[in-house]
Symmetry: C2
Subunit: 370 residues, 2 copies
Amino acid sequence: MSLTTAELETPVPVVDLDRLARNLDRAAAYATAHQLALRPHIKTHKSPRIGSEQLRRGAIGLTCATPFEAEVMSEVCDDILVAYPPVGGLRAARLAALPETVRLTVALDSLAAVETLAIAAREADRAIGVYVELDLGMHRVGVPVIDDAIALAQAVCARSPLTFEGIAFYPGHVREPVGQQSVKLEELDAALGAALQAFERAGLRPSAVSGGSTPTLWNTHEVTGVTEFRPGTYVYNDRTTAAIGACEWDDCALTVLATVVSTAVPGQAVIDAGTKALGREPMRGTDSADGFGCVLGQPDVVVKSMSEEHGILDLSTTSWRPVVGERVRVIPNHVCIVVHLNDVIAGVRGDAVETSWPVSARGRGYTLPV
Amino acid sequence: MSLTTAELETPVPVVDLDRLARNLDRAAAYATAHQLALRPHIKTHKSPRIGSEQLRRGAIGLTCATPFEAEVMSEVCDDILVAYPPVGGLRAARLAALPETVRLTVALDSLAAVETLAIAAREADRAIGVYVELDLGMHRVGVPVIDDAIALAQAVCARSPLTFEGIAFYPGHVREPVGQQSVKLEELDAALGAALQAFERAGLRPSAVSGGSTPTLWNTHEVTGVTEFRPGTYVYNDRTTAAIGACEWDDCALTVLATVVSTAVPGQAVIDAGTKALGREPMRGTDSADGFGCVLGQPDVVVKSMSEEHGILDLSTTSWRPVVGERVRVIPNHVCIVVHLNDVIAGVRGDAVETSWPVSARGRGYTLPV
C-alpha cells in the first residue's frame, strides 16, 4: 500500500533516501581516495540503521558521545570510539560494561578521567584504548599544552588495562566557507605537526590521529598526519553545510515537513514547526543568512522567528502566499538538533513514504531508580 | 533505600518538590483571590502528574498545544483547551477522537480551520467548543481585525456541532520586567475592551475570555474582561522568569544537574549539559543577562556557549574553580524546552531523590505507518 507525505502528521522529519545514499557514498569514496579511516560520528542520526549503512560502505567503526549512543550502536558495530571525556564513575562504568565484543576507545583530556576510566576498566576486566584529546584551536575540550598531553599519555600507559592508542582533536573552529578555510587549516597542520613530533620525541607513537568534521570534510587530507576522521552531519547535511559550500543544496537529505496553520497576520505564514521541532540554532560560518531554517526549493523564504510550536515564515522576500493547510518542507540550520528532538524519521523518495525508523539513541537511556 | 543526587547519571533535570508545590499554590491562590479561572498550559511539564496537582488545587481545566498533549492529559482531565489552530484533517480528527468524557475547546483563527474542525466534529458526532483567537499585539497567530474575528465567530455558530465559547489571546509580547509592563498592559486592556464591545454589538457573548502568560501572571487581573488565564512556565520557572521579576530566584524549581567533564582550557569549565540538554534559548525581556543558563546559587556564572553535549561555564566573573567530576545545577533560560528535551524528571528535596516521573507528552505520539 502506498503512502504519501500528504498523509503524514506534521511536524515530522523526512529523509530523502536517494540523497542520503549519495551523501554516504561520497564520504566513503573520499575516505578511500585519500586512504583515510572514516569513523562517522553518529550524533547526527542516532540510528543503528544508518550506522550499519556507514559500516557497509567501509567505515572502520563509529564515533559516539554518550554511553547510551555507544550501547545502541553496539548492536551493529564492534569498534566504537567515545569521543567524550569519561568523567564520573557512573559514566565510566557504563562504558566499561559495553559488550566484550566491542573494541572500545575513549578520548579524554584529564588525569581525573584517566583514573576513573582505569578503575572501571579493571573492575570490568576489559582493555580500553585511549585517545588523548588536544586543543588545536577550538578551545572547548582538549589539552592545550603539548607537554601536558604527553604526560597524560604516559599516565595512560602506566594504567593497564588502558592502552594509549592515539591523539584526537576536533576542528570545530574551522567553519568558514570551504574556499576560505586554508589559513586555519594551515595553522591546524602546523599545530598538529608540532604535537606529533613532540610525541615521537617522547617515545610515544600514536597509532591513530583522529580529527575531522563536516565543514572540513573534503579538506581532511590537507592536514598532515591525520589517519581517521569523524564527520557527523554529512549524512543528512543542513542549511549551514550548504551555505558554507561543504555540500550542495541538493545534498540536504533531511527536511522537516510542516503545515501552514495560520496566515492571519499579514506578511507572514505560521507553520507548526517551532523550537520543539527545529531547535533554535543559528547559522554558523556565514554572515549572509539569518533565520532558523529555509523552505526547500525557496531558500530565500526563512523561518524568521519561532515559539515552541510556531515557526514564522517571512514572506517579505517572495510573492508566494501559502494558504492555511498548505505544506512545506524546511531545511533546518542544524540537523543534529532536529534529529535529537524527534522520535521517528520518515524515509521518502519524492512524495512516496517508503519507510521509517526510530531515533533509537535519542535521550539518555537511563531510568531513574525511584 | 535513600538515593542522593550524587548517584544520578548526568545530565538530568531535577525538580525541587518544595519549590514546585509553592509555585502551584501561589498561582492557585492568585486565581482564587481575583476570581479568575486558572487553565494552566501543560507544555511546560507535559506530565499528567503535574497536571493532576494543578487540577487538585482548583484549575478548571488544562491547556494543550498538540493532539498528543491532549491525549495524554485526558487521562487526568475532563476539560481541555487546545490553544493551537486545528489545521489539517489528521490533526482535527485526532482531536475529535479524544475520549467523549472530555469537554473539548479549540482556539483558531481561520475559516479553513473552522471548516476542518466542523467536519471532524460531525464525523465523530461530538460537540467542540471554539475560541476565536485575536491578535492583540503579539503578531504570531490570531485575527488582527475585529470585524474579521466576528465573522469567524459567526461562521462557527453556523456550523453545529461547533459552538462559539469565547475569545482567546496570548500576551506573549509583554515580556518586560514586571514593574515595566504597565504601558503594554494598558494597550492590551484597551484593545480587548474594544473587541469585547464589538462582539457584544454583534450579538455574540463570549462566555470565556482567555489570556495570560507567566511573565504577566500576577497582573492578569488588570486586563478588564479576562475570565481565564493560561500560564505554563510558572510551575518550574526559569532564569528568564526570575530575571524579569515574575518569580524570585528561590522559585526556580527545575535545574539541570550536570558534571564538569573538562577544565583543560583555562578560564572555563565544561559541563555535560549542552544544547541537547539545555536548548539554545536566549534570555528575553532583559538586556542585562547573556548566556544560556546560570549556576544555581551563583547566578553570575553562566553557560557562555554550547555544543551539543558541552556547556562552557565562563569563570571570568568568579574565583570559583570547579574540578573535573564536580557537579553543578544549572537554571536554564527557558525551562519548557529543557523538559521537551528530556524523557524523565527526578524529584528532589535538597540532595535526596524522592521520586521521578516521565515526560509523558514529550514528542508527537504518532507512529509512522510503514
